[in-house]
Symmetry: C5
Subunit: 274 residues, 5 copies
């Protein structure tokens, strides 16, 4: 919430973050719909698209690939994350220090907090250390605020999502990434609870163009500051095409109809168009 702390990863207060930590979080299975995307070069190429304000990756990928893209891509260092090989109460290892991220060229950090998990306290304290180190180095701070765990009945209700954005605000995130809470009203409420800190919705699993753009469009109208998306971009056959559409919706206030038009794409359900 420090004024402009997130300026490197936003444009006109809006953000489209291309998230690419699926190889760690889910494993190679997420690259199957579009095998070329197992190659980080493909993603950093997408990250050079005008629509994208930052690419979020883990340390190893940044170390190996970011040097070739530092003029064209803004780096969001995703500091924690874990494999899905183990089972248990949600938690995430801290894989990257802020100091190292700065050396690699990061402009902002990303950090997952599983509110409601038995590990919430541990994760929030790790977030504290990262957030304060980010402040020292002038990096923006993005919280992946994803309530889940044994103590949590309903992780995606409007109430829980509004609590999620508030956690981002109270704990010191500049931008909080949350699931879409299901309706524009719920999104507006979640944005209000962020009280001036920014909110981006997460892209989630792959849906068709119209459906996806419609949700993003609703979120933007409801006050969201943008999108952090992975699979809904890179699992498509033509990721650049959807980025064109997202750019229209997020940065140019286009309708879904206009965005599909920009993409040269057909609506799936013309009746439902705005």
């Amino acid at each position: 919430m420090i004024p402009n702390a997130d300026s490197a990863i936003t444009r006109n207060e809006k953000a489209l973050i291309l998230a690419y930590d699926h190889g760690l979080e889910h494993g190679p299975v997420d690259f199957e719909p579009n095998p070329a995307t197992a190659d980080p070069d493909r993603i950093f190429d997408l990250g050079s698209h005008d629509a994208v304000t930052a690419v979020a990756v883990q340390k190893g990928i940044a170390e190996g690939y970011y040097p070739s893209y530092e003029d064209d891509v803004t780096l969001l260092a995703k500091l924690n994350g874990t494999s899905n090989l183990w089972m248990g109460e949600p938690n995430s290892s801290v894989n990257w220090t802020v100091e190292n991220a700065v050396e690699v060229g990061a402009d902002a950090i990303g950090f997952t907090v599983y509110g409601g998990s038995n590990h919430e306290i541990e994760m929030v304290e790790e977030f504290r250390d990262a957030q304060e180190a980010a402040r020292q180095h002038g990096l923006g701070v993005v919280m992946w605020s994803y309530p889940r765990g044994q103590g949590l009945k309903n992780a995606t209700t409007p109430e829980t999502i509004a609590y999620s954005t508030r956690l981002g605000l109270e704990l010191g995130a500049d931008i909080t990434k949350v699931k879409y809470p299901g309706s524009p009203d719920a999104m507006t409420h979640a944005v209000e609870m962020a009280a001036g800190s920014k909110v981006v919705m997460s892209g989630g699993s792959k849906t068709n163009d119209q459906e996806f753009l419609t949700t993003v469009h609703e979120a933007m109208k409801a006050g969201a500051n943008g999108l952090a998306v992975g699979r809904n971009v890179f699992q498509r056959d033509n990721p650049e095409q959807i980025l064109d559409g997202l750019e229209a919706v997020i940065f140019e206030e286009a309708s879904v109809t206009e965005a599909l038009d920009v993409m040269g794409a057909e609506p799936t359900d013309p009746e439902a168009l705005d």
Copy 2:
């Protein structure tokens, strides 16, 4: 208890702390009675009221909003706190370091200790670190001393509240915040156990004007040094009005009748007035 360590957040040895960490501790539900109060600007405006000696918030809200209010509001940095999304033995994450709080402009720190919790030892050791860092930086120290947890049968008996204030004294708090123990005698006993360190009662959940002022008045007569209040102020339709009344009771030794008069408010139960 260091002489004058808490001078920045007291006036004539008395304090009215406006607490506003409910977005973290309880979530957005606490703002429903007065939705405007989800906005920290509304709270910092209230914090500019003459009655208020300090506003207590978490790091994110201080970072984002305190720069606009630093001339008019005294900042009490609430260093720990946790969501109610998880369940388990009471505990609280440390979300903010003293060093960072100093940079943001804090004049004092606030720290919750759940005596009687299975996490008491861990919390007290975290308090130790915060308290000693506060001493290094000349900040006052306020302990939220709230016994609770598996080992505790009666958290609000006079005996437990007296023990609570003693914990504040022994562990090095300048001011200890406790629940009202139910009677003026019990409050007097609790104040005596603090042995010269200050005691403020917590405001608790919202009650009517007369009832609330009566309790505060009793506590002050019993020797308390003031109040730390959130919901009983910001959940009202007219928070400034109750601050006027509290100012009279806390700083001007007014009776409840006089305080209601200052507020221009009607007594709910005229028979019960002093």
Copy 3:
């Protein structure tokens, strides 16, 4: 055991430590027999008595009160301690660092170790840090060596008390405080196991003058170096009186009869007098 490391808190190799951490360990209930003693001023006044070689308190009380008594009282900083609000395997939080204790004016540190507890290893490692920091700063080291916990059948047998003093010796205490093991022979054995490091008996709960002095007298004859006492002094109506008697027994080799005489007190059981 470093020669003279404990010289600030002993006189002619003997010690009478006035312990006053009951507000933390037991709560206000311990002040009920003599309510004036809830006030630390009363205790520091007692600490000015010639008999007393040091007063042992927690950080908060030292911070608030010791500045007024530093010319007349020697400060033993009790670094750990915990409330009895929680239940579980014996443990103690470290509430005070040696560095801070030095700033407050401490001449020695006190530290509880519950040998036999499931937390013994953790406590002994915390003791190590405190002991080595004390050595750096030239402070004496007193161990409250109190075996207790799940693994321990008999906490006050002669064997256990002798083991207790040996733990103090082996781990680096200058003075080890133990319960009286029940007989002069057992005390002598415990003192021998301390092998030149000092041993003081703890005062325990309040008993009558003759009984208490008799036990102290026995302990001294058996080779103990003195007493660390709280309730058996401050819960009496006239604490100065018993200090007079203890001074005679501990420092002047008086008999119990002579000590009672110094106090102007009557024996309870004249037949049992020495």
Copy 4:
């Protein structure tokens, strides 16, 4: 993945790492087939063979023996590892700091991560510290990426091995050591998931010459960068002989037939030869 970070332990992008931490991991039983190999001198002699690009040992062996071989052998410091005397969820102690390894003369570090273990988070965070320290000192980083533990049904499926190499990539390894996934196609997939970071197969338990060379040959053709091998070399009667064969297959693109010829060895199953 930092370009050339692993250059000290590779030759033309290929590696043959002689691993020798079996005395810690399995105990003396692994030396029984060839008792002379209990002596580290025997291994460092083998490490001087042209085929070997690095020898991986624990701290104690490096301290004692590497000074005599530092001109002829490249040292890969295996930082963690544990005995098999205990039972429980897979984990590994960190026995060696990077700073000390640098003093001993290490050119790279090796670190085991048991993905899927309940200790995965702890191990990955320990890996983070080692990896970042290695970067500071310019050492290459090799991850032993071995999924195992309670949460893991199938540790050696192609999917798990592909996930293993991806973990190495994402977390910042230059080279990831994995089990052979059973087929060239699976190996190719695992190599693709490493996305430019290197992959070496582990040698596993001892097999006959033809079988072993065939697997290594398949792995190399499938894109692997080499081999990390212990028992399949040092448990043979003539370890130099198999190193000759491995050198041919790994660095000279020899067929298995050619490699056996270089070794002067007979095929076990001539029909199966390439």
Copy 5:
């Protein structure tokens, strides 16, 4: 294994370490056979015997007594150890830092590792810190390598003892102290597994002169570098006498007959003599 790192505590590559941490590990009961040995002066006097290359004690005893003996005795600082008052999976607290041991005058450190314990990982990591600090200060490193714990069926089999010495080697001990594995062949095997690092057998509980010397003699012929002994020396009526015998066996290659002769002692079982 660093050449000569243990030179201060060996003579001609051999060691006789007088261990005296029984007051901590077992309590005063171990001094009952020879009560004078509760006094550390008695032990340091024994430590001045020509046979003894080092005396191993805990911090408190070193602080208090070593200053009087530093010209005549070599100090082995036993850094960890714990009481037997508690029960549970084998573990040991770290009671002494290397830095402090250096100030007290230590020439080497001793450290217990319970391989096979559920706490093995924790203990080995504590050993790592101590070992590396010892290297910084040029101190020798002795590991008490004692497999025990829930996961361990047979703690004293030849296989386990051989694994014990290998652990010492791999983890960086200069000297590893193990139980006698029952036969000269097993001892030879254990020594071979130490691969040039030194092995000393532990003295164990008290046996008669001939029996004890016979075991030591066997161990020496089998390649051991000496003995670390406590009770089998200090629980005797005439500890100097057995030290004379041990000196003959360990440093002068005497037979048991010759050693008994040096001691002026009668064989218990003349038929069994060498």
